[in-house]
């Protein structure tokens, strides 16, 4: 009887921990989205939004992890300086990509669905977004390091990081770290 009680208690505790983490992650995401919405409301265009939203996004998105995963195993061949440069450039690109999705004055209507916890320390929050009359399914992937951080955004099944990974893989095969950084520089410059 006692063993059964202990077993049940441990199961309840594990479930409680998972639920607590998903709630915390969802709370973090909602707060972040609301902050971005406020900034987007005040911004005149997407370029201005990209500049003003950067300090907020740096605190809610793990750009470091995103860059590492987007580059893949080739990341180990980057020098420290190259890693820093690639992270800075990729951060700029991601923020610009994110900002370009919004039109001033029009902010999406987000419905949060039940969060999933695939492994401890990771939470996926599926959302349904109504924007400009169209519905989109967007999943926010979050991981807990120092705090909860967004590590990927999956729009209609298309992962942002997986898409960049395909592109960086091709660049890395051609010319290693130098080619990746050069292509990032080119992309950042061309989309300005």
């Amino acid at each position: 009887m006692r063993s059964l009680f202990l077993l049940l208690t441990s199961l309840v505790l594990i479930h409680g921990r998972v639920s607590a983490s998903t709630i915390e992650a969802e709370k973090h995401l909602k707060k972040a989205v609301s902050e971005v919405a406020q900034i987007a409301d005040r911004s005149a265009n997407s370029s201005a939004l990209a500049v003003s939203v950067r300090p907020v996004l740096v605190n809610i998105i793990s750009f470091d992890l995103m860059t590492r995963r987007a580059v893949g195993p080739g990341w180990r061949e980057f020098t420290d300086a190259q890693q820093k440069e690639a992270t800075d450039l990729f951060t700029t690109l991601i923020i610009r990509n994110y900002s370009s999705k919004f039109s001033p004055g029009e902010f999406p209507e987000i419905t949060y669905k039940t969060p999933m916890c695939p492994v401890p320390g990771r939470v996926e929050i599926p959302t349904s977004i109504l924007y400009k009359g169209s519905h989109y399914e967007v999943i926010y992937r979050q991981e807990e390091s120092v705090a909860w951080r967004i590590t990927d955004v999956v729009i209609e099944g298309v992962s942002m990081i997986a898409t960049y990974r395909t592109q960086f893989d091709a660049q890395f095969k051609q010319g290693g770290a130098v080619a990746v950084i050069s292509s990032l520089k080119k992309s950042v410059a061309s989309s300005q």
């Binding site: 063993s3 590492r68 893949g72 370009s100 099944g157 898409t163 592109q167 660049q171 992309s187 989309s191």
Partner: protein, 393 residues
Amino acid sequence: MCKTLATLFVFILSISALQAAAASGVSPLGSDIVVITKEGVKSVSLEGGRLPKNSTETYFLKSAVEVKGRPLAKPTPSPKPTPSPKPVSSPLAQTSSKPVRAQKGATQKSKPESSPVLSTRKVKAIVQKEVKKRQDASPQVASAPIVPQSKTPGPKKTSFEETPNITITKKSPVGADSNEDLDEYSKDKAIPDAVEPLNRGFFWFNHQLYTFVFRPVSKVYGVIPKQARAAIFNVYDNVEFPVRFVNDLLQLKFKRADLEARKFLVNSVAGVGGIMRVSDRIPALANVPPADTAQTLAKWGFGHGCYIVLPVFGPSSVRDTVGLVGDYALSPVTWVSFGGVPSAVALAVTGPNSVRNMDGKLNAYDAATQNAVDPYQAVRSGYSQYREKAVAK
């Protein structure tokens, strides 16, 4: 009942502990390991339940070499027998229930056994053979008989480069540059691109077409009020009901086919011929995933084939192109073109259907390419992932 459950729980835990111990190389019993030396069989003192570090000896299970009814001899530190037995640190000897008899066994080990069982005799012979072999062998060989080649101290290497077939990589802390971290997206497979140069050519052509033809057309279409555009979109979407319904049936998704049929009825009747999407207000009908012929082919086991960029239509694959033909065949909008209807009427019917999706497709194209490092690769990857999700739904 509770007692049974508790016993079962404890039993499962014990099994898990034993399995874990076996997996980690730790003997759960601790004292059942012996080693065969020149002097005979010696039990091994386990350090914290583990075998001694950097040892080159071959270890045996006690049960494999033990004579029935006669425990193994206590290990003696020197080959010469001493009159008084030295204190034994081996856990095997400490736990032995008959220490005196064990000592006796050690002194009598060279004498022939008086009443051995056949299997015991065989085991004894193997042990003696092993001891003799070690005595005959040179000290270097005896000390490291079954050690892997890589562990034997070889000639001194001056640098890592002199060691062939060994890759030395900087070990990274877990969570920083760990393999799991960097290989997170390695499983995402894009559709094979066998005709990339040709595809890139069509990609460039489509880009020009989108920029100089589609975008202006889409802008003109955008002049029409939003509600009117939404009504046009809804009517054509409703008319294309057979594509979704038939493919749901072909995929044996009868419940979804039923929902599609209800959605069509609701929108056609309450939505005035599909002008209004009344089904969006009914939760069960609001998000019915649309089926198409390419999905059906995927469900039937057909692979993508290779990636193809179709002129005008954009990214596709061999399977999806065949599916596209199937979708056109099932669409009533296409039937108008082949039903003896004057071409002007056919154009009037099919034209808006082509334009209604243009804005959405251009937006998707822009989203994929605007901040891309390589727009072609970005569209290809995005298309692969999107179709994978559509098939999985």
